[in-house]
């Protein structure tokens, strides 16, 4: 098996990288892929919490590169999706305790055994970022429709291109259709025009993500969640399916009756996408 390494990055913190990593990783595994997700945010790990695996960590990324355990010992199997594994970041160390070469070597080893290796990149553009992108052949850049996040995404895209990663696709997260309709938020086309890269997913703002994160269950398991459905579609696109992008504005309920149907879980339009 020769898989590919994809880095999930953003520049700015708090835009949803870790949530996107957990959900895209889970959705890819649900499509019968063998998937490994690596948390490289050493010192500030979160991916284990979002996936509900925080109580299963014995060994972490730093233990692997420093030789305190075998790779197989640090791979934590997901509770739900069978072929999804997590390598957690160390919580008590910092980003400088692993080198770029060590992470590249680890990803190459994982590529032999997995279809996809997804690297959850820390915020910022320092050593942690440089480590995370070094092994990747593709990048998913996560941004929200806010000027600060877009500016950081723009900077990161430039750095990725300079690092010879040219397969760069954009996930625009937390699009609020109401705000866009009122003209108080940039719409997806504005963001794409600014960043000049292809989009792979337009994820609507969704309160269910907060609930699912707190429960440690990725939102892709929630069929009523619009963002969960979009993460499923993103995974399908990564897997080579040609699905059209769905603008959250087209999917969001506009009438009171539609909102009521959504609350009651009988939204026909939404369920058709699952």
């Amino acid at each position: 098996m020769s898989g590919k390494t994809i880095v999930m990055t953003s520049g700015k913190g708090g835009v949803g990288k870790t949530t996107a990593t957990a959900n895209v990783g889970t959705a890819l595994a649900l499509r019968s892929n063998r998937v490994a997700v690596i948390d490289t945010d050493i010192g500030l790990r979160n991916l284990d919490v979002v996936m509900g695996l925080e109580n299963r960590i014995v060994y972490d990324l730093v233990d692997i590169v420093e030789g305190r355990c075998r790779l197989e010992q640090a791979l934590i199997r997901d509770k739900h999706a069978g072929d999804l594994y997590l390598i957690a970041a160390a919580q008590t160390r910092d980003k400088d305790c692993i080198t770029t070469q060590q992470l590249v070597g680890l990803c190459k080893r994982l590529e032999d055994d997995f279809d996809y290796v997804i690297v959850d990149c820390p915020a910022g553009i320092e050593q942690g970022f440089r480590n995370a992108i070094a092994a990747a052949s593709e990048a998913l850049v996560v941004t929200t429709p806010e000027v600060s996040a877009i500016r950081d995404a723009d900077r990161v895209i430039g750095l990725l291109q300079a690092a010879d990663i040219h397969q760069i696709r954009l996930i625009i997260n937390r699009i609020n259709p109401e705000l866009v309709r009122r003209g108080d938020m940039m719409d997806a086309s504005d963001v794409l025009e600014m960043l000049a890269v292809d989009a792979i997913g337009l994820v609507p703002s969704d309160d269910r993500v907060i609930t699912s994160t707190n429960n440690g269950t990725p939102v892709v398991y929630d069929g009523q969640s619009a963002s969960g459905r979009e993460f499923v579609r993103i995974a399908a696109r990564i897997d080579g399916e040609h699905l059209p992008l769905i603008d959250p504005l087209d999917e969001a309920p506009t009438s009171i009756m539609e909102k009521v149907r959504n609350i009651m879980g009988i939204n026909r339009r939404a369920s058709a996408h699952v």
Binding site: V147, I150, R151, D154, G158, M186, D190, V191, A196
Partner: protein, 279 residues
């Protein structure tokens, strides 16, 4: 006006007697450097001048109207003096006249000898007396120098300039893409952006106050021309694009001691008989 004096400032020599001031500009310095030196000198000695006329002696140079205008604007804006005349050496004018005559003769010979279907290589060569070989544009190192000062290079950059990128241009800059927030473009000459200008643009970075910035839309960037700067407070970055009044081609230039930013195709447009880029 000032009394008798002579001051040399590297590339510019200023001398005065009575009501006449003579500015001599170094023959071989690039025009940008000469303009910068002139600005610096006039800035330091503003108190010496109280109006009047001057003659600019450009020595062995042949300057285009545009470049003469650059020098005139530097002197007039920095000192309050007005440039009465430009002087250059008579032999330079003679050389240029000779060169043009030769070129016309050469062209006439080629046209007159050309038969459709014949090989151009078979045309009789135009004989030029080596001693009289023209020293004007297009031949010899001196001519190269003059050619260099005639017009700056135009460099084209394709694609967006992203946040954190700084691109420098030794001449005029043409950007085929957006200048995104956080990006910076710096040019010795003009800057033309065939896209949205949302970052920083610095035209005339070598001191040329006649440089201009033209963009298809301007959304609250920071603009600089020579030492002047301009910015507007308001919604920042990309979101400003939706609501600002800078959409559409917009031109920035220095006028009346400040950068003026105006739509390019409205009140002062070519269609209205007054291209603001022509000064």
């Amino acid at each position: 006006m000032l009394t008798d004096f002579t001051e040399t400032h590297d590339l510019v020599r200023v001398s005065g007697r009575g009501a006449l001031v003579n500015f001599e500009i170094d023959d071989h310095a690039p025009l940008n450097d000469a303009c910068r030196a002139l600005r610096e000198h006039l800035g330091r000695n503003r108190h010496l001048y109280s109006g009047g006329e001057v003659i600019a002696n450009i020595g062995a140079r042949l300057l285009s109207d545009r470049d003469q205008d650059r020098i005139r604007k530097v002197i007039e804006s920095e000192s309050g003096l007005s440039v009465k005349q430009f002087w250059c050496r008579s032999e330079i004018l003679e050389q240029e006249r000779l060169r043009i005559t030769r070129l016309m003769e050469q062209q006439a010979a080629i046209v007159g000898s050309h038969v459709p279907g014949s090989d151009r290589d078979e045309l009789p060569p135009v004989e030029l007396d080596g001693a009289e070989e023209p020293q004007g544009l297009g031949s010899g190192p001196a001519a190269d120098q003059i050619e260099e000062t005639y017009r700056m290079a135009v460099e084209i950059s394709r694609g967006n300039l992203r946040a954190g990128e700084t691109r420098r241009f030794p001449g005029h800059a043409v950007i085929l893409g957006n200048v995104n927030p956080g990006a910076q473009v710096i040019a010795e000459g003009d800057i033309i952006v065939f896209g949205g200008l949302r970052g920083q643009a610095h035209a005339g970075a070598g001191g040329d106050i006649t440089a201009t910035i033209l963009a298809m839309s301007i959304a609250y960037p920071v603009l600089r021309i020579s030492d002047y700067s301009w910015h507007r407070d308001g919604p920042t970055d990309a979101f400003a694009r939706q609501s600002n009044d800078g959409n559409g081609p917009t031109l920035a230039r220095v006028s009346n001691g400040a950068i003026q930013v105006a739509p390019y195709l409205k009140n002062n447009s070519i269609n209205q008989g007054g291209n603001p880029n022509e000064r």
